[in-house]
């Protein structure tokens, strides 16, 4: 799966999780850019993304991701 496809799927999850159909998600998007993306929301996002791609992040990855792009990179590696 290409990075763009993964990003597109992540965007869908974000839109569902934040209940906002117009939410714009790019690789450089960080938690600070999205209203409501706090540590609680991060947990349900992580679990939704894990289920979508049928992968598991590591503990270090969950707490170390700095932006959406890093999330995409991990997924690219994991589903190779």
């Amino acid at each position: 799966m290409k990075r763009e496809e993964i990003l597109e799927k992540i965007k869908e999850i974000f839109r569902e999780e934040f209940d906002d159909e117009s939410l714009v998600i790019k690789e450089e998007t960080t938690a600070a850019d999205v209203e409501g993306w706090d540590s609680l929301k991060h947990i349900s996002l992580i679990e939704a993304i894990e289920d979508k791609f049928d992968i598991r992040f590591t503990m270090a990855e969950v707490s170390g991701m700095n932006n959406v792009g890093e999330m995409v990179s991990i997924i690219v590696e994991r589903i190779k």
Binding site: E17, D19, L40, I43, E47, R56, F57, M59
Partner: protein, 576 residues
């Protein structure tokens, strides 16, 4: 349902909700996601839930401090969740390990007692997820010092304790662990990062269990299962295949149907009424019940048997009217999707599970729906089917009499009217939870509250039993009266089982209320009707029975002006 959907529900307007409750969540772990899941799931069931989510690990602070947020809120429901991970930390510090479960139960009881002293609530207690540390391996099963031994014992002790605490109800999250498995219910990294012992993947299920228990406590429960026959209770078609060829019993596919019948029979012993609705000739439909040696269900297990060629929706309505229960308390089981859809579209309130095609999956599927949650269980439940059958006998007799009054006389009815006593606390509480239609103010009481009312000097109480020549209805009506002033007695609750409607019991009860008021020196009796979507049948009750309306839905009568009614019911003399 997904967690994200439940979270969305939390933001929706509660205009469409019909019930409004409050809940406090007290945990030794992170409970924010749980709080959202429960609130969001409540919305699905038309319940607007105000949730107070205490901060992380604040149980002691909230419970011990008299001025805590918990005690300011005094919620209808108080939920305790102690996660096993934290317990394990305590266990590892403990020096007397073989006593660990006992100590934990004692501290839980401490919380319950303290909360019960402070305010009126119903306590919901999560039981304990079973995380073995495998330190003793399998040998832990016979080693009281092992965590395995203690955590298993703890869930058992919790059940035992809850028998004694009538207002404590267990939410069985260990069951969810069994069904969904360790990997699905929990993710260790999220516990380490966020102190969440349960994953958001399983929280919707946890919320569902919680709300179902709340609904049962509030009187919303299933009372009857209506069954199709061919391909539902046995394999094959009795009308085509004949008695010898239908599939039921030990062999092959028949075994699945036998087990299904066995389970249905257990439901009936628990107090769920079974009825049959089949497109068949009646005699043909009854043949397996009468003659097939391997049938588990017999005619005496079926409260009402309807077999004809009319459409099932009409037949179900007939059954519902005869049994005098709400459509929303009925479950209809039929293998045929056409019949299910017809019934669903004609009767929106009824529950119609979409049975799987394979009969071997019927039982697991129906069990997974957890349709039969209850908040009480008493002796009466075991005889319910018999009572409904007696009722059918009365209906037949009624047809032979020229006047209804004559028919009532022939029933030889005898009723008791007595203040609440300890032998009946459980049945009285149960009746307040189950009765929806003949219920003037629809106040639900727990067994413990009933016990308190019985002792309270400011209240007078009455329960009523009724029997006739066909059988014993048992305890069928409850009245709670509050002393409002020296001469004014207020009927703060009056409810009656619909099974005894139109027998003169309403009149008999009101006569007893007035007599009680008279004996205790009251001049006036006042009553109130509080509307619910289900109790329209009693909206005019007081007016019809000689009270005058003093304001909307509020009625009054002077004891001296009240005229006693004439009924065909004899009052049972006091037992010696």
């Amino acid at each position: 349902m997904k967690f994200a959907e439940l979270e969305k529900n939390c933001k929706k307007s509660t205009d469409t909700c019909t019930d409004f409750y409050s809940l406090a969540i007290l945990g030794n772990c992170a409970t924010q996601h749980l709080a959202k899941a429960i609130k969001g799931y409540a919305y699905e069931e038309k319940i607007a839930l105000t949730v107070f989510d205490a901060d992380y690990n604040q149980i002691d602070a909230q419970v011990m401090d008299d001025s805590s947020e918990l005690y300011q809120m005094t919620p209808d429901f108080t939920l305790f969740w102690l996660c096993t991970e934290k317990l394990y930390e305590e266990f590892c510090q403990s020096t007397n390990r073989s006593d660990f479960a006992n100590q934990m139960i004692t501290s839980l009881e401490g919380y319950w007692n303290r909360v019960n002293q402070q305010y009126k609530t119903t306590i919901l207690q999560f039981n304990f997820i079973q995380n073995d540390d495998r330190v003793f391996g399998n040998y832990g099963n016979k080693t009281p010092d092992s965590f395995l031994f203690q955590i298993r014992k703890l869930n058992y002790l919790l059940m035992e304790k809850c028998i004694l605490y009538k207002n404590v109800f267990i939410i069985d999250i260990e069951y969810l662990q069994q069904i969904y498995g360790e990997d699905r219910i929990k993710d260790n990294k999220l516990y380490y990062i966020a102190k969440m012992p349960l994953s958001t993947r399983i929280l919707p299920e946890v919320a569902k269990q919680t709300i179902e228990v709340i609904k049962a406590i509030k009187g919303k429960m299933k009372k009857c299962v209506i069954l199709d026959l061919d391909h539902t209770l046995w394999g094959g078609v009795i009308g085509d295949d004949g008695l010898e060829n239908i599939q039921i019993g030990e062999l092959g596919i028949g075994h699945a149907f036998s087990e299904f019948q066995m389970w249905l029979k257990e439901l009936s012993k628990r107090g769920i009424i079974l009825a049959v609705c089949s497109k068949n000739e009646e005699a043909t439909a009854k043949e397996p019940f009468l003659k097939h040696p391997e049938m588990v269900l017999h005619l005496e297990d079926i409260a009402m048997f309807v077999a004809n060629w009319e459409d099932k929706a009409s037949n179900i309505k007939r059954i519902q009217e005869a049994l005098k229960i709400g459509m929303d308390s009925i479950v209809f089981l039929d293998d045929n999707p056409f019949e299910r859809n017809l019934v669903k579209s004609m009767i929106p309130d009824i529950t119609v599970p979409d049975l799987p095609e394979d009969p071997s999956q019927y039982l697991n599927y129906v069990k997974s729906l957890n349709l039969f949650e209850t908040a009480s269980y008493s002796e009466t439940d075991k005889n319910r089917t018999k009572q409904y059958q007696e009722e059918m006998g009365r209906v037949k007799l009624q047809k032979q009499f020229s006047s209804y009054a004559e028919y009532l006389e022939s029933l030889e009815m005898v009723a008791e009217a007595k203040p609440f006593d300890k032998f009946h606390f459980s049945r009285i509480a149960q009746l307040t939870q189950r009765s929806n239609q003949f219920n003037l103010r629809t106040i639900r009481y727990t067994e413990q509250e009933i016990e308190q009312l019985a002792k309270d000097k400011e209240h007078l109480t009455l329960y009523f039993t009724l029997k006739d020549k066909f059988g014993d209805y048992g305890l069928i009506a409850v009245v709670v009266m509050e002393k409002q002033s020296e001469n004014m007695l207020f009927i703060s609750e009056w409810l009656m089982s619909c099974r005894v409607l139109k027998r003169g019991m309403e009149e008999f009860i009101l006569d007893e209320i007035i007599r009680t008021a008279e004996e205790n020196g009251f001049d006036k009796v006042t009553g109130e009707y509080i509307y619910t979507p289900k109790n329209n049948m009693v909206s005019e009750l007081y007016k019809k029975m000689g009270f005058h309306e003093v304001e909307k839905d509020r009625y009054e009568v002077n004891v001296t002006e009240y005229e006693k009614h004439k009924t065909s019911i004899q009052k049972q003399e006091k037992e010696v």
